[in-house]
Symmetry: C3
Subunit: 265 residues, 3 copies
């Protein structure tokens, strides 16, 4: 009888913990959407990946010079996160398409909160702060989509990105041609990325824009990253083939590697 | 009635877990102060941030050369930690003020145990090992204070440092003028650091010594770091203003970001 | 009486949690040995340290060029892990000794899943894929041994490696002379590594091949790493002496630092 009571208590504890976790998760999701404003006019919003968006209407002239910003831009938009660089670059690319801003800096940190990849800092330049603010708003909203083809588990992550028409953020970050289809293929640990890269370029007739690995082109992350351009159908096909092989390998290492949000490619 | 019993059990479990955690925390604090010596003469002590202090009376000549140490110094003091570089540099600065030693190397690792910042390795040179030992002792003791204006939560951290009179460690690390007031402003993720930097330089009439970001001046950490010099009142005011804005942003991202010890600025 | 019941429930909870953990640990160990194949012909196997081994029979010519591979090798073997670089280099060294392959790249990421050290990507070149596959198989099997003198706890880790006869992987990674005894001494945080290095070179008549620290020779890891060569008895003695001092310091910082597998030196 005592056995039964203990079992019941254990079950109850398990149930309550799960409820608490679900509540916490839901709460944090909600927090990401409607985070309380800190009462700072420069604050725009937050998004997943520990991302924050800010604007400065008039950058202090001394700092402006130290940051080597283009003198044309008094205002800047600031987009930065702990996890993700690809999602942020893709989101920034949509933001420059939609607003009167330019990308003035894309910097990749060795971060991802202790994972194998990058965090980032992206700066938009604008003549008017309203433009900078609009760019950050667009980018923050895009992030939920651009995290869609990031798949992760305890062993690492893979990331895929695709756009039918690359704009200035992609051009700034990778030197990819403007207006053409563009894709990113990332595998971590880097070993997986090598095979994903090989799969991508063998699948369809695409051009390799960049190849990056731990010792070159990354900030020492444990990733192999290729970026590709070409015909939109070919780029998409290459990215999807790389995703299949990368996800299988990652799941062989450490079990299910679900999408962080919802796949978009 | 069984419901009530389960509730009671849950409460009791919660209470016991909290007690256990409090005890563990207290224990670890105590451990940091009175750690058992490993029976190695070179061992000086440990401090927070997974910091260890060591001395070598006579560095092996082969190693001495490989480490490119100044031939004047037979003895070295070694201060290194997993979390923190600013706190260690400030502590080292007090140590050189107080002892007959020089700073021979300050190296910043991309560490912080998986957080967004730096770990460090600082070497003191001395002609006598007693001087090296004294320097390490002073530095270890200072760390509790210099971690005081580090505020952290799950999204990142901010760090502020201030001294009315910079000495050789600060000069070595940042090229800041000797004998003048000096401050450090750090924000992670880097996006927060940009706004903190802007706030600092707008608040008071200070001079920017260095500006560092993920792609330049850091070891690829997800931080923006500015160092400032000038009138002591102005530097202090700038640092405090940056702290206010940085802490608000960090807390908007992920809730309370308390000081790691006790604020000193 | 209720007190007693609560005590019993607490005990039962503790017991069940421990059983669950033991089962999980055992399961993960087994998973590392008999991981399900992902149904990809390029997959060879996995090993500890989140290591994966892969082969590509014919690297795509475009990718081949972007990766700057030697044109002689159509096939490559890929060995990569999240934790460890030393163990992988030593394992690769055995693999090149045993097979008709060459090491074409050794890249060190700033990884270790958020710890203080490196992850890695090692590429073997081969004319036949069967040779590449054999090399990866040998390396994967060696890893269990080469992780044997890695000791870790919450404060950091130390790592020792020793071979009586260095081969091409070691030569490629460190420039150490072929056919001679060779050892690696690693301490993290870096402060510990300095004292281990000093101890090693003072213990026996060895030659220092390389000295690496956070700011030079590492990928910004919080490690000091020396590699040594010389008489096999001397190298072994130096490595063992460094291990003693390093382990004592690490354990002073954060308690027991057991071997990750079984010490082999």
């Amino acid at each position: 009888m005592q056995e039964q009571l203990i079992d019941k208590v254990m079950e109850e504890i398990k149930r309550r913990m799960e409820t608490a976790q679900t509540k916490a998760a839901a709460g944090s999701e909600q927090a990401a959407c409607i985070s309380p404003t800190p009462g700072i006019t420069e604050f725009v919003g937050t998004a997943m990946g520990d991302t924050i968006g800010l604007v400065i209407a008039n950058v202090d002239p001394i700092l402006h010079e130290k940051m080597k910003l283009d003198p044309r831009f008094r205002s800047i938009g600031i987009l930065g996160g702990r996890t993700g660089a690809g999602p942020h670059i893709m989101a920034a690319d949509e933001a420059v398409k939609a607003t009167n801003t330019e990308i003035v800096a894309i910097e990749l940190a060795r971060d991802t909160k202790g994972g194998a990849g990058h965090g980032c800092l992206i700066l938009f330049g604008a003549e008017e702060v309203s433009d900078a603010r609009r760019a950050i708003e667009v980018a923050l909203k895009e992030l939920n989509r651009t995290f869609g083809d990031v798949y992760a588990n305890d062993a690492g992550h893979i990331e895929l990105q695709y756009t039918a028409r690359a704009s200035y953020a992609i051009n700034k970050a990778f030197g990819a041609p403007l207006g053409k289809a563009f894709g990113i293929v990332v595998g971590a640990p880097a070993a997986i990325g090598v095979l994903m890269a090989d799969t991508a370029v063998k699948t369809a007739n695409v051009e390799v824009v960049t190849y990056a690995s731990p010792a070159g082109g990354t900030s020492f992350t444990n990733e192999v990253i290729i970026t590709i351009t070409g015909d939109s159908g070919a780029v998409r096909q290459a990215v999807i083939a790389a995703r299949e092989v990368g996800r299988k390998l990652l799941e062989t290492m450490a079990g299910p590697a679900p999408s962080l949000t919802t796949p978009y490619i």
